[in-house]
Symmetry: C2
Subunit: 428 residues, 2 copies
């Protein structure tokens, strides 16, 4: 196309020199043809698909949803089209968040809220999603550009802001509260928040907002050495919040001394980030569309292809006030929940004759027994970890003060002992 445009410019230049020349008419004809060719070139490069009103299961090449609606016919998902009613917020549009956004967009999610304050750099090109021609754009603008081309049916809202600033946090929580056109029985405006940020402060901000709003969210992370990652489900009051227990990461088994040197940029790989994004969105789909089991915590050690899982109960002594309030509310509403669960079970039992092919699991998570939770304490929240899991922060004195219950508390002793055990395990 560049060549065509250059030639066009030359044509105009010569026309300018002799506008009333005998050859002028011929040259104008030629110019006209050239423009038509350029228009065709442009068109083939930017043809967007039109919006699709209803998701159809029809098996034709032109149907972008046929392979998703097939999930219904195959008995995996009861009602796939419900995906259009859901709103998901993604905080951090980097190596994990951008891929998560693309996956949800291609799945036909109803509404996506995107948050990031960064711009696209060439240094991001070793991860999926962003393209070199988007360098310099904000990550949210570049994401909206790409995602709206991929699927114009998705409602995209982008927020170029830093959620760890006072102003940014305020806009963040307000945007989560704002109800979209579909409400699907939720208290906030979104059904799920996915945290795909790369630092502790931003995770604490997401944690604070979600505890305040009673908003279920999923956390994700990739290690600085690029070879391990994790995802975690957080339901305020029901599971541990991000402040209940020191954050867990999957140990890569690589000598810690080689990591976290001063002034060294973190490594990253499109593979690890793609896997973490895939596991995150797969669990988000299971949660939203009610199929399979949502993992409370899933780690990924890529050097050994090892995937530890565990559950984390909330800490009644959690330093986060909003979390403690959510825990109280969760216990208070236990009788009502039990009654509802009993009624549902009875209704299902009476409908068992023509019962569904696959048993539905209301929230797709294995709920922690309330009586256990009531007796849990700080040390049980930091109890034995599965092999290969370790805490993100290397020693107790580096934990934020609010997390340390008291001087020489059992929590700190347990953690130091645990760290020694894990160090020995990783060294072996």
């Amino acid at each position: 196309m560049e060549e065509e445009l250059k030639s066009l410019l030359q044509d105009i230049e010569s026309l300018k020199r002799s506008p009333s020349d005998a050859k002028a008419l011929d040259s104008i004809d030629e110019m006209q043809q050239r423009v038509v060719r350029i228009m065709n070139l442009t068109k083939s490069g930017a043809s967007r698909r039109s919006k699709v009103k209803d998701m159809s299961a029809e098996v034709v090449d032109s149907n972008p949803y046929s392979r998703l609606m097939a999930l219904q016919r195959m008995g995996i998902v009861e009602n796939y089209e419900r995906i259009r009613e859901f709103s998901v917020a993604i905080v951090g549009i980097g190596g994990v968040g951008s891929v998560a956004a693309e996956m949800l967009t291609r799945c036909g999610i109803g509404r996506l809220l995107l948050y990031d304050y960064d711009t696209v750099e060439l240094a991001n090109m070793n991860r999926l999603f962003f393209r070199p021609d988007q360098v310099g754009m904000t990550k949210t603008d570049a994401a909206v550009q790409t995602l709206s081309d991929i699927n114009p049916d998705v409602v995209l809202e982008s927020y170029s802001l830093n959620i760890t600033t006072v102003k940014g946090f305020e806009i963040f929580t307000e945007s989560l509260k704002a109800q979209g056109s579909h409400k699907s029985g939720r208290s906030t405006g979104v059904d799920l928040v996915l945290s795909c940020v790369d630092n502790y402060e931003a995770r604490m901000a997401v944690n604070q907002a979600c505890n305040e709003l009673g908003q279920t969210w999923m956390e994700s992370g990739v290690s600085e050495d690029a070879v391990s990652g994790h995802i975690q489900l957080l339901v305020p009051g029901e599971t541990a919040c991000f402040a209940c227990a020191p954050p867990l990461v999957v140990a890569s088994g690589v000598d810690e001394r080689t990591l976290k040197r001063e002034g060294v940029c973190a490594a990253s790989l499109p593979t690890t980030m793609g896997v973490v994004a895939g596991l995150l969105v797969q669990n988000a789909l299971k949660y939203l569309l009610k199929f399979g089991q949502v993992s409370p915590y899933l780690g990924y050690n890529s050097l050994k292809d090892y995937f530890p899982t565990m559950e984390m109960r909330p800490n009644p002594q959690c330093s986060n006030f909003a979390c403690v309030e959510r825990q109280k509310k969760y216990i208070q509403t236990k009788p009502a929940r039990d009654a509802a669960a009993k009624a549902k079970m009875e209704a299902e039992a009476s409908a068992a004759k023509e019962g569904p092919l696959h048993v539905e699991n209301e929230w797709n998570i294995s709920v922690v027994d309330d009586s256990e939770m009531e007796t849990s304490n700080a040390s049980s929240a930091s109890g034995a970890l599965p092999e290969g899991l370790t805490h993100e922060l290397p020693s107790a004195d580096k934990y934020p003060e609010s997390l340390v219950v008291g001087e020489a508390s059992p929590l700190v002793d347990d953690l130091e002992d645990l760290q020694r055990q894990l160090d020995a395990l990783n060294a072996s």
Copy 2:
């Protein structure tokens, strides 16, 4: 841009009607400015990054390789830049293969060979990579378009052909044999073949070519119900080939009766395919760059986030003649391999004082003991499977005849018994 072009066409039209008009010169000036604007618009939308001669570890925003070279400084990879010497062939540029190609391209692989006979359809848009504006292009052309924009340093070769045809198979094997500019001590022209095809015949064709050439390859697959997948390493003569044992898949636990109905298209999800592509390329990187442990077989059950692993030894009674020849050669070369391994261990022991931080594993795989292999037989190749794994083909009478050793052979009995056990397991 479309509007600008339309206006330009109108300008030319009016100029054509009155070429010697007094206003002609003004209008020509305007046209000139318009074309310059169009050129600028085109440029901003298609600015490609220039080629990078040497991979640098410099931590600047403009360096597309800084986050990859950091793997070296962090002690994960000994020499990341070696990636430029490797050639990888990807067969099948669909939901898994296209993402695998993008990951390797962003990692800066030296040369990629892409094989597919299909064209892009809107029905592919529920998986990553292809864009709606590429509908109608061959998948290989569309992939080259996208990948060369992302990373112009990668040498891309595309083959739009069907490897299961006689002619296609011939071009396929010839292209694998052709040496690139970097040889890195390999016998064929590629270091690794990744199979990302979606059918049995194409897998058998890849298996045949790789057995004939002694070419190490990795197989990948996603189930028809979109919720499980697997990857597998195949080293001719050393591990089971694709014909040695009936192909394994990860059971989703979903009732088989709801699957594989006549005339029903397969379901697919960008999540499952993204995870499988990520696990596949991560293992390819571990194999090529010699870090971590390459998984001989890794399954993914997304409903339960369960990842079974296992090893599969070659079957001395394998129906594939080339496989049996490779097995014989592998046994013949055992003394030479043992001697080389011994010499290497001794050299490492003497260098132990200033030894490397992480012990190098020559081929990054846990090699099956040769003495064990020599005594292995058909029934051991189909021995006990880890929980959740099952064979892809539901009952013995559906296996290709060449795989069945004889009437009422132990292999068939074992498999039927196994199938019953797995069915019971999946039903529970």
